[in-house]
């Protein structure tokens, strides 16, 4: 570390840290609420607005607030905050503030965090954007993908060895394990050994691993952790680079296969008020939406998979037939009740309007 790198990385220390280190966290909450307001009201040039929010999020969370938006850190912080309830309320608030707001916003406005705010997602999206500019066209199944992965893997090993020679590695550096697994999975998916869909279930094991370490009070730093704390954390930085490189080959591969927070968001979106659904009666099977969806949440047969959708609205905006709609599903019953109602409608021959509010996958 360069000792001249002064002062603290967080720019607004003085005016914000006044209430037991918690007012600055209020800033992060207000920022997220502002994001949600923008998201729910934005119609024109929505993708441009989304990218602006992503950039603002990177700047805001990297340079202003202390909250960790890391996909491991939010789970760990949330659990730690829960353990402090009843003893140290201000600290409990400090640790719980951000995870709680993200979860609440998911329930109210859909999993917008993943598509609009998450820095790990933004970095991957940037990687996809670069790939589309540098290597246009579909790469899947080509040798280019394997070569790219090989270059990423070799570079990573070289960097990791360099890091290893200069410092001692601990459990906290285990994000490197996740990075290695990600490269392996991308290799096997590209080679056709693994299928994309079942491999996504590994996210659950990511959650289990992080929860177990968190309750054991063991810290594993998140991929983007180095940017939040400006601490010497080469493992986190290297993992972030590998995630970006992997996304170059399989778009948002971290979100698809390993992100524990993404799994939680997907699980919570079952009860989310807002959903993006495809109206089959308007769909012309042009597959523009499937090509545009980075996370692969849409397929021809099932429409939008709610547990994979990141609410980026790309499909909504790209569809020329307005086949995708954002619907309010609260108040129409559980998915099972809606499915039963649909069946009753079909059985009786009456007009069924449930399709407007129910994703195809659940019908």
């Amino acid at each position: 570390m360069n000792p001249q790198r002064l002062p603290l990385s967080k720019l607004l220390d003085a005016p914000f840290i006044s209430l037991d280190e918690t007012s600055i966290e209020m800033g992060s909450i207000l920022f997220l609420f502002l994001c949600i307001v923008v998201i729910t009201t934005s119609r024109r040039r929505r993708q441009l607005v989304r990218h602006l929010v992503q950039v603002a999020s990177l700047v805001f969370f990297f340079f202003f607030v202390y909250s960790c938006l890391g996909v491991f850190g939010m789970i760990r912080n949330g659990l730690y905050g829960v353990s402090l309830i009843g003893s140290v309320y201000t600290e409990a608030f400090y640790w719980l503030a951000l995870p709680t707001v993200v979860i609440a916003s998911t329930l109210v406005a859909g999993p917008v965090f993943c598509g609009w705010v998450c820095p790990t997602g933004t970095i991957q999206e940037l990687s996809v954007w670069v790939r589309q500019r540098v290597l246009p066209g579909k790469l899947r199944g080509t040798r280019v993908q394997l070569v790219l992965l090989g270059v990423a893997l070799t570079s990573s090993v070289v960097i990791a060895i360099t890091v290893s020679l200069s410092r001692e590695l601990f459990v906290e550096d285990s994000s490197l394990h996740w990075a290695a697994i990600l490269v392996l999975l991308c290799y096997l998916v590209v080679l056709g050994v693994l299928d994309d869909l079942p491999t996504r279930r590994l996210r659950l094991f990511s959650v289990v691993a992080i929860v177990v370490t968190a309750v054991s009070h063991v810290t594993i730093t998140s991929p983007v952790h180095f940017a939040f704390t400006a601490r010497d954390d080469p493992s986190s930085a290297l993992t972030t680079v590998i995630i970006a490189a992997a996304s170059f080959v399989v778009a948002r591969s971290w979100c698809r296969y390993l992100c524990p927070w993404g799994f939680l968001m997907g699980w919570l979106s079952r009860w989310s008020r807002m959903r993006i659904v495809r109206r089959d009666d308007r769909c012309t099977q042009c597959n523009l939406c499937i090509e545009r969806c980075d996370v692969g949440a849409i397929d021809v047969q099932h429409g939008v998979r709610a547990e994979q959708c990141q609410f980026c609205y790309a499909c909504v905006d790209v569809c020329t037939e307005s086949a995708f709609e954002v619907v309010d599903v609260w108040g129409i019953g559980t998915p099972r009740e809606v499915a039963e109602r649909c069946a009753a409608h079909r059985h009786s021959g009456s007009v069924c309007t449930c399709a407007r509010a129910t994703p195809a996958a659940e019908r």
């Binding site: 280190e21 290695a180 999975l185 096997l188």
Partner: protein, 458 residues
């Protein structure tokens, strides 16, 4: 004092004729340090004193015990078990007849022990027992006077988890040093406190204490009145230092925001401030640098800073290999005074106080779990003692071992770097094979289900 004097030197001269020449030793306590819960420290900072003609080292431990060791050999003299972790430095006080050791434990109790044999003399609870109370945070107390009575000043923080009584409470409690009788107590909000400093400032006894919400309090030792207080932007973690210089007595303290501040001990008025490049969580230490009064601070900016006591200007800064989490301890080596600090790169460093040049470094033990999590705990700072003409450096490491080194060994020996990443890299094939196999199993199951449904459709 938790750091031996009001200047926080963490250094003591014991003119003893020892039976054995001080030598390097290691002590592992109950041997259960491997099971310590990440998030809590293993050892308290030790204190060293002459007891019954012997140099004894007193240290609290994660395993609920307080140990008295022969400071020259590391041999255990006695141990005393409390009801909770002992993270506060045991305080030694000689009343003219007997030497006492005061131990503040997380079981909310203060124990007064006979320093020679470790027998309990009295115990006092900082708050009345309730079953819903959590463990308390009791930093190191100090011994001063309330009027004519020798008193022990105990900072505390307790919390009650029950919903009706839900509260957090911090304060300072004054107990009679020889009986444990309560003299007074003062409430200081609901944030954790630092160790207290007892000092005779401006002709009257005072008690100084910092808090996690950035306050520094000056209390009247007689009745606990708040004489003045200052508020910083971030937590005050280190015990304040009182230094009597040319401008009269002054309190120099630091906060986690990296700011070091010198204030008038009587009024609390600022004299100067200095901002380090990153957090400062250790105590400020008063010393002399090239004939001038100065203070030393270790910072997370990987540097030990020497500041002029009068102006606050930087005299030198010395870079080490990691963020400095400890307070410096001073010793007078053959080549001049040396400050000993501990850093997150797991080394102890000896820094020449006159010039800031590095004299030596020594590997001090690797963490049990991770380094990032270490930041959440208060870890032991080194202390030094001169025993029979030999300087010793003591440090309770986060690897579970308390070590004593003669200065000659540190200054003359090669650095003992035991870094190894073998286990870390060996875990990779295991993880990759495990997760890869799991992914393959999931894919095969998915394909079988898909084939079955296709066959059904046909």
């Amino acid at each position: 004092m938790s750091r031996h004097d009001t200047r926080n030197s963490a250094s003591i001269h014991l003119a003893l004729s020892t039976e054995a020449q001080p030598a390097a030793w290691e002590f592992s306590g109950s041997g259960r340090a491997w099971s310590y819960q990440p998030g809590s420290g293993v050892w308290s900072s030790p204190s060293v004193a002459s007891v019954g003609g012997r140099a004894l080292l007193f240290v609290g431990s994660y395993d609920h015990d307080v140990y008295a060791l022969d400071a020259a050999t590391g041999e255990q003299r006695w141990q005393f078990t409390t009801g909770g972790r002992v993270e506060a430095t045991p305080i030694v006080w000689y009343d003219g007849e007997r030497t006492w050791v005061y131990v503040a434990s997380r079981d909310r109790q203060v124990y007064a022990l006979d320093a020679e044999v470790g027998r309990q003399q009295w115990t006092q609870s900082v708050v009345a027992f309730r079953p819903t109370l959590t463990e308390a945070d009791l930093p190191s107390p100090c011994v001063g006077r309330v009027g004519d009575i020798a008193a022990l000043f105990v900072p505390y923080w307790v919390a009650d988890r029950s919903l009706p009584a839900s509260q957090q409470e911090a304060g300072v409690l004054a107990l009679e040093a020889t009986t444990g009788r309560r003299l007074w107590s003062v409430s200081l909000g609901d944030n954790r406190l630092t160790a207290v400093l007892c000092a005779q400032a401006v002709g009257r006894p005072q008690v100084f204490v910092g808090s996690a919400n950035g306050n520094l309090y000056a209390l009247a030792a007689d009745d606990g009145r708040i004489l003045w207080q200052r508020t910083e932007l971030d937590a005050v973690r280190g015990v304040p230092s009182l230094i009597v210089g040319a401008g009269g007595p002054r309190v120099v303290f630091s906060s986690k925001s990296g700011v070091v501040r010198s204030v008038d001990a009587e009024s609390g008025a600022q004299q100067w401030s200095y901002r380090a490049g990153d957090w400062v969580i250790g105590s400020v230490v008063g010393t002399r640098v090239a004939g001038r009064e100065a203070v030393l601070i270790g910072s997370y900016d990987h540097s030990l800073h020497a500041l002029d006591l009068t102006t606050g200007r930087s005299l030198w800064r010395s870079d080490v290999g990691g963020a400095i989490y400890s307070a410096p301890a001073l010793l007078a080596g053959d080549d001049g005074p040396v400050a000993v600090v501990a850093a997150w790169d797991h080394f102890l460093y000896g820094i020449d106080v006159s010039s800031g040049a590095r004299r030596w470094r020594r590997f001090a033990g690797r963490p049990q779990w991770d380094v990032v999590g270490l930041e959440h705990s208060d870890w032991a700072s080194p202390v030094t003692a001169r025993i029979g003409g030999t300087w010793m450096v003591y440090h309770g490491s986060y690897d579970g071992v308390l070590r004593g080194w003669p200065l000659a060994l540190l200054a003359g020996g090669a650095s003992d770097d035991r870094r190894t990443n073998t286990r870390f890299w060996l875990s990779f094939p295991l993880v990759l094979v495990g997760v890869g196999g799991l992914a393959l199993a999931l894919t095969r199951r998915h394909r079988r289900a898909h084939d079955a449904s296709t066959a059904d459709d046909e």
